[in-house]
């Protein structure tokens, strides 16, 4: 309902909404332009073709776009803790997390999802893959579970701000940074870094592990091939942990009292 309120409020200025959705779309397409520019100079990156990199890009961007639409606003929490406006959310009979997520709900973020989906579809067209029923089912599953994992990271990052009010940028390095990381093939990164996003912050489950299965390539960092089917489990686990972190953070909250 709060989201609907913000949608109504942005729709009041239809032209401005169209403008900002469009600029959101172009803003996010620029990092794909960079990949196109790179491939205008080389034929492959880390042994991956352009279509394969486009597939990696499309899958992570779609997931990230969905998560950003749903939870992108929770990183404003630090600001709310700092200026004390979180208190107004506490007294309303709606879960605080839902209120934070819907706070200034920005439908223009559809621009990012559109962009990710377009490139994903395009990559599916130019990709040379022997499709099986399992592989076909894995693509939408990847998008949904990826979105859940990114959302969990965003909520966990926001929970951290109950204590460290100024540190929203740390979350950015996992969300935006993770998104950038996953746009490129795992073969180009140091294997310790790849292990980090498999075992520590499980971002590799957003797209790398299932995508490599779809592309018929070996999983990175020596993990077995069947982990490609783990994203639902990992996503569930991440959400549970994020929920715990959120509750712990909320319970420790002390108002600034100003």
């Amino acid at each position: 309902m709060i989201a609907a309120m913000w949608i109504r409020s942005t729709m009041t200025y239809r032209f401005s909404f169209a403008m900002s959705t469009f600029s959101n779309f172009t803003a996010t397409i620029f990092d794909f332009v960079v990949i196109v520019l790179m491939f205008s100079q080389v034929n492959g990156l880390g042994g991956f073709s352009f279509a394969e990199v486009a597939f990696l890009y499309g899958t992570t961007s779609t997931s990230f776009g969905l998560a950003d639409l749903a939870m992108g606003q929770v990183n404003r929490l630090g600001k709310r803790v700092r200026d004390g406006t979180l208190d107004t959310l506490l007294v309303r009979p709606v879960p605080v997390l839902a209120q934070c997520a819907a706070d200034r709900f920005a439908l223009r973020r559809l621009g990012r999802i559109t962009q990710g989906l377009l490139i994903l579809i395009w990559s599916l067209v130019i990709l040379d893959v022997e499709w099986t029923a399992v592989k076909v089912a894995l693509v939408p599953l990847m998008a949904v579970c990826g979105a859940l994992i990114f959302s969990a990271v965003m909520v966990a990052g926001a929970s951290f701000q109950f204590w460290a009010q100024d540190a929203s940028e740390v979350t950015n390095s996992f969300t935006y940074g993770g998104n950038t990381l996953l746009q490129y093939p795992p073969t180009i990164f140091a294997q310790d870094l790849v292990r980090g996003v498999v075992y520590v912050v499980p971002l590799a489950f957003v797209n790398w592990l299932p995508a490599l299965y779809v592309l018929g390539r070996d999983a990175p960092a020596g993990v077995p091939g069947w982990v490609a089917f783990l994203p639902p489990l990992v996503a569930g686990l991440c959400c549970a942990l994020a929920a715990l972190a959120w509750r712990a953070g909320l319970r420790s909250y002390r108002s600034t009292g100003s």
Binding site: S16, S20, S23, T26, A27, L37, M38, Y184, I188
Partner: protein
């Protein structure tokens, strides 16, 4: 003059108080530096000497970019949000009433902010990058002051651009749209995502002639000693030219805008 030095010092001190935010920024710059460094390594592995850089120079470029991201305000000048808010709420009327020059005031404060970010958010990621990767560092000691001067000119151009963006709020009331366009252009045309020397054909020529080139591409080239002697003079001339032109445009726009200000009584 003393007043503006005090304002600049204030800008420096103000940003120095955000310790947690600075630490978070250093962390983020380092993470992005790592990701970019690996993608550049894959690229330069395939095409050594792409854009006229060897591997060590390309890696140095990555970390210079991370060091200058906040300093040169590539993703936002760090002051325009506040200025836009003052214009929107009408507080700007109070600022105009003060016996100081509006543009110089914000310029001084922004210079202090940039100086803090260069030290606070630039040095540590650069040092981490130099420890982990094999970076090209200046061979001559004189390159360091030459680089700093180029950074200062880049910061000036950046200020001039963001000042124009902020002033647009006088007409649009809400500067969010213009700010987003400026943010986008800043990231792409400064060479933050990919060096402008790698951009192909006409796109590269246009990108290298735009003001944003002076915020990262030119200082990085000075650091990598691609611009020495007469080339260095040309680099400075390019940056100063844009700085003067854009500051003058800001001043002109400011005088038009202030004539429009209607102070609501209360």
């Amino acid at each position: 003059m003393r007043l503006y030095v005090a304002v600049a010092a204030g800008g420096f001190r103000r940003h120095a108080t955000y310790r947690m935010a600075t630490a978070a920024g250093v962390f983020t710059n380092t993470v992005f530096g790592f990701i970019l460094a690996y993608t550049y390594m894959a690229l330069w592995d395939q095409r050594p000497h792409l854009g006229g850089y060897d591997m060590a120079e390309a890696l140095a470029y990555v970390w210079i970019g991370q060091a200058l991201l906040a300093t040169a305000g590539l993703m936002g000048g760090g002051f325009e949000e506040e200025l836009i808010e003052r214009i929107r709420t009408g507080d700007i009327a109070i600022d105009l009433y003060r016996p100081v020059d509006l543009q110089l005031w914000w310029f001084s404060a922004n210079l202090g902010r940039a100086a803090f970010h260069l030290l606070g958010r630039g040095v540590v990621p650069m040092a981490v990058g130099a420890l982990v990767f094999d970076l090209a560092l200046p061979s001559s000691l004189l390159t360091w002051p030459a680089f700093l001067l180029s950074v200062a000119l880049g910061v000036t151009v950046s200020f001039a651009v963001w000042y124009l963006v902020a002033l647009s709020a006088f007409w649009l009331m809400d500067g969010a749209g213009t700010a987003q366009v400026a943010w986008l252009a800043g990231l792409f045309f400064s060479g933050m995502l990919l060096p402008l020397t790698v951009f192909p054909g006409a796109l590269g020529e246009v990108a290298r002639a735009l003001p944003w080139a002076s915020m990262l591409q030119v200082p990085a080239d000075v650091f990598l000693e691609k611009r020495t002697g007469w080339g260095l003079v040309q680099a400075y001339a390019f940056q100063s030219g844009w700085a003067v032109a854009l500051l003058a445009a800001g001043r002109a726009l400011q005088s038009v805008a202030t004539r429009r200000v209607v102070v609501q009584g209360g």
